[in-house]
Every structure is written in structure tokens, then in C-alpha cells.
Symmetry: C2
Subunit: 211 residues, 2 copies
């Protein structure tokens, strides 16, 4: 088909815009409460002198935006019931961020907490991050495969709880090997900092490749 | 409007059917990995001699159905990408369960793991259960209010982890008091059994009221 659906047309525009201004953009997708916002709080600080912005989508409230506002420019999108961010919403947020003049190095998009719908909508991001966390259990990669299959990197958060949960990441690795063999799996704890180096290195490398 | 949308028409049919045959039905909605299936495994056993059936929705796999199959009749619905169960899917499942002849006391519907979309779709259930779990954090009631506002009972699972997470349920109670003052909040652990008595009592009372 030569006719892209409306979302994808806008996504293409977003992609061009962010690449033109040298912004490394990622779309972070995961279940509610897996730690996206906590990860961003720590990531932005960990990236040091780099200039970051956050676009965060939620059904209601600006709580996530408030949590990152002191370390990054942020735009909160309230979907009022919508179960995923759309390229159009991201386009509007990029304008609010004044992307052409803001000299941003990184744009982090925190999608609505949802393991199902967000993976169906291209936002124009450079990379897609799929995240799960240890309390969610061992079978989420198999059960929510549409989220993990197209991901560029996979984060397993709350690794600090693995012991108390008797969590073993080998099931995760096995299930991933059947659906996505190119995305690296990074085990980390946004809380304690364990594994954050590997994630920051991945980001910096992605940014460097942007040219 | 006198024209019910297609889903609601089927939901009404489901509701009539389940009530006619004396089945207490609940639709359990929560984030992926909050413990719905574990709760059902323990609940069905806890209800003792009662006859229960489970209708479980997932994007992919029959893993949840396999987990409850030894304690209840079960139908697994694979939505193949659909982010919530529909009344039509439940209607088909009720036929598979042979509801008219099965003499079921309880029908548990485990919805797709998703805090956003399922609350928009009436399945014909008698009661709606909204569940969250301690690792998800303190702000989910406020952020995903559409799920909690219409619930008939609210379960806070994984209470056994509250100490290690430094989790305090008073924020949950405060946020709930602003949007839903009729649903009782039951703190429990499907894993250790703490609080399960209160949940089982709620179910038995609901069943008794069915007449
Ligand atoms: N133990 C532990 N807890 C964590 C970690 N990361 C986040 N949390 C906690 O998990 C809870 C949820 O974190 P959030 O950052 O709000 O999760 P989220 O994915 O942004 O949630 P939504 O935006 O609502 O989808 C909070 O109580 C965090 O403190 C971690 O690495 N380890
Ligand atoms: N510590 C603790 N873990 C629990 C409890 N209930 C469930 N779990 C664990 O949480 C993980 C997820 O449980 P599931 O029952 O698969 O969750 P679910 O809500 O059915 O998940 P989906 O069907 O994929 O949405 C598993 O590792 C369970 O053992 C609990 O009360 N306490
Ligand atoms: Mg968040
Ligand atoms: Mg389940
Ligand atoms: Zn959706
Ligand atoms: Zn949906």
C-alpha cells in the first residue's frame, strides 16, 4: 500500500524533525508501575551535561511530568482515556518543546502505561524501548509478545527485588530468543543504580551513531 | 440514546443469562502481572465445594488457562492484539462452558492485563473488580482513575511485599476517597493468603445476594 495511515504520516514528519535537529529519541513502553518515570529521573541525571526533554503520556494528572520537571524540559500529554500516545500528540509536544531552537540531545517519550496498545503506534521515535519489571513475573515476554518483538532494546527493571521474589531472568532470555534476537537485554534497577551504566552506554552509543 | 452500542446489547444478554442460571460473575481488571491468575488459583480453591469457571483473555498463549485448569472449567480467549475482552467474546465463552447445564456458582472473568481499555467494555458481569499491587507504586489510583471509579470492590495485592517496598496504603485510600467511596478496599496477598478471607467473604456474600 502506498497510502500510509494518518498516524504514520505524522510519525514520519516527527522522525525527520528530530533527526534534523540531532535529537536521539526513544519511545519507552511498559506496564503501569514498572518504573518508566523513575528510570527517566535517573537516566537524565546520569547523562550529565547532555540536554534532555521528556514527553510523557498519561490518562490523567501531571504527576509524572512533575517528577522529571527539575531535571528536564517536559511536556505532559493527558489522553483522557486514550490508551496510547499518537504521532499527532508527539508532534504537538515537539512544538511546545521548541525543538528547532532547544538544542536537545535526547528526547525521551514515556508512553501510557500499557503493554498492549502503544506498540501499534509509531511516534517517529528513533528507537523503541520495551521494559518489564521483576514483580510482573516470568511470562510477560511470551504473553505480550507484540510489545517485545519490535523493540530495539529491552530493559528488565527492579532487579534489586529479584532475590526476595525468587526471580530468575533465564525464562525472560529464553522467551526473548524466540521472538527478538537483535535487541540487547539490560537488567537494571532504576532504584539502586545497578545496571544503569549499561543503559546509559547504550543511549550514548545510539546518540553518537546519529552523527 | 435508546440505541445501545453493539457491545452493550450483547453484555445485557450475557448478564441475563448468567443471572438466570444463578452464576455470580466478576470481571477482574488490573495491570499485567499484578496477580490476577494467582488470585484466581487461590480463590477457587478457597471457595471449596462451589463450582467455578474461568474465562481468561490474553493477547497470546494459553498459559493462564493452564494454570487454573485443574481447579475450574476454563476458556482461554486469545485476542490476537485486542486490548480488552468484549461482550461478544464472553458470550461465545459462556456457550463453550455450557452455562445452561453446568450449574456454575461462580464465573470469574480475567480481563487482558491493561489498566486502560477494559473498563470501557461491559461484559455482562455482575460485579467489577479493580486490582492493583504494591510494586506498582502509590499513584496508580489517581493516574488510572477510569478503572477504579466504577469498581465494586478494589483489591490491593502483594501486601506481603509492602515492608520491603516501604509501601504505605494510606495514599491509595486517600486517592480512592476522591473517586469511589462505595467500593471496599481489600488488602491481600494471593501468595501468602493474608486478606484472602475478606475477599472470599465478599464473594460469598455477593453470591448469596444473587438469590
Ligand atoms: N524496588 C524498585 N522499585 C522501583 C524501581 N523502579 C521504580 N520503582 C518503584 O516502582 C513504582 C512505580 O514507578 P514509576 O516510575 O511510577 O512507574 P511507571 O512505569 O512510570 O508508571 P506509569 O507511568 O504509571 O505507567 C514506584 O514506587 C517506584 O519507586 C526499581 O528499580 N526497584
Ligand atoms: N509476592 C507476591 N507475588 C505475587 C502475589 N500474587 C501474584 N504474585 C506473583 O506476581 C507474578 C504475576 O502473577 P500473575 O498471576 O501471572 O499476574 P496476572 O495479573 O495474572 O498477569 P497477566 O494475566 O499477564 O495480566 C507472578 O510471579 C506471581 O507469582 C502476591 O500476593 N505476592
Ligand atoms: Mg510514569
Ligand atoms: Mg493472568
Ligand atoms: Zn488501546
Ligand atoms: Zn484498548
Amino acid at each position: 500500500k502506498n497510502v500510509l495511515d494518518a498516524n504514520d504520516e505524522v510519525a514520519l514528519e516527527n522522525r525527520k524533525l528530530m533527526q534534523q535537529y540531532g535529537c536521539l529519541s526513544v519511545n519507552i513502553i511498559s506496564a503501569p508501575g514498572s518504573g518508566k518515570t523513575t528510570l527517566l529521573e535517573k537516566t537524565i541525571v546520569g547523562l550529565g551535561g547532555a540536554k534532555s526533554a521528556v514527553i510523557v503520556g498519561d490518562l490523567q494528572t501531571a504527576r509524572d511530568a512533575e517528577r522529571v520537571a527539575d531535571v528536564a524540559a517536559v511536556v505532559q500529554i493527558n489522553t483522557e482515556g486514550g490508551c496510547h500516545l499518537s504521532a499527532g500528540q508527539v508532534a504537538a509536544a515537539l512544538e511546545k518543546l521548541d525543538i528547532r531552537n532547544a538544542a536537545l540531545d535526547y528526547i525521551f517519550i514515556e508512553n501510557v502505561g500499557n503493554m498492549v496498545c502503544p506498540s501499534g503506534f509509531d511516534l517517529g521515535e528513533h528507537y523503541r524501548v520495551a521494559m518489564l519489571s521483576t514483580p510482573e513475573g516470568h511470562d510477560k515476554v511470551a504473553k505480550y509478545n507484540t510489545m517485545f518483538q519490535p523493540a530495539d532494546v529491552i530493559l528488565l527493571n527492579k532487579i534489586d527485588l529479584a532475590e526476595v521474589l525468587e526471580f530468575d531472568s533465564s525464562c525472560i532470555r529464553d522467551d526473548l530468543s524466540k521472538i527478538n534476537t537483535r535487541a540487547p537485554l539490560i537488567e537494571l534497577s532504576a532504584k539502586t543504580g545497578e545496571g544503569m551504566d549499561a543503559w546509559l552506554a547504550w543511549l550514548k552509543n545510539a546518540k553518537a551513531k546519529l552523527g
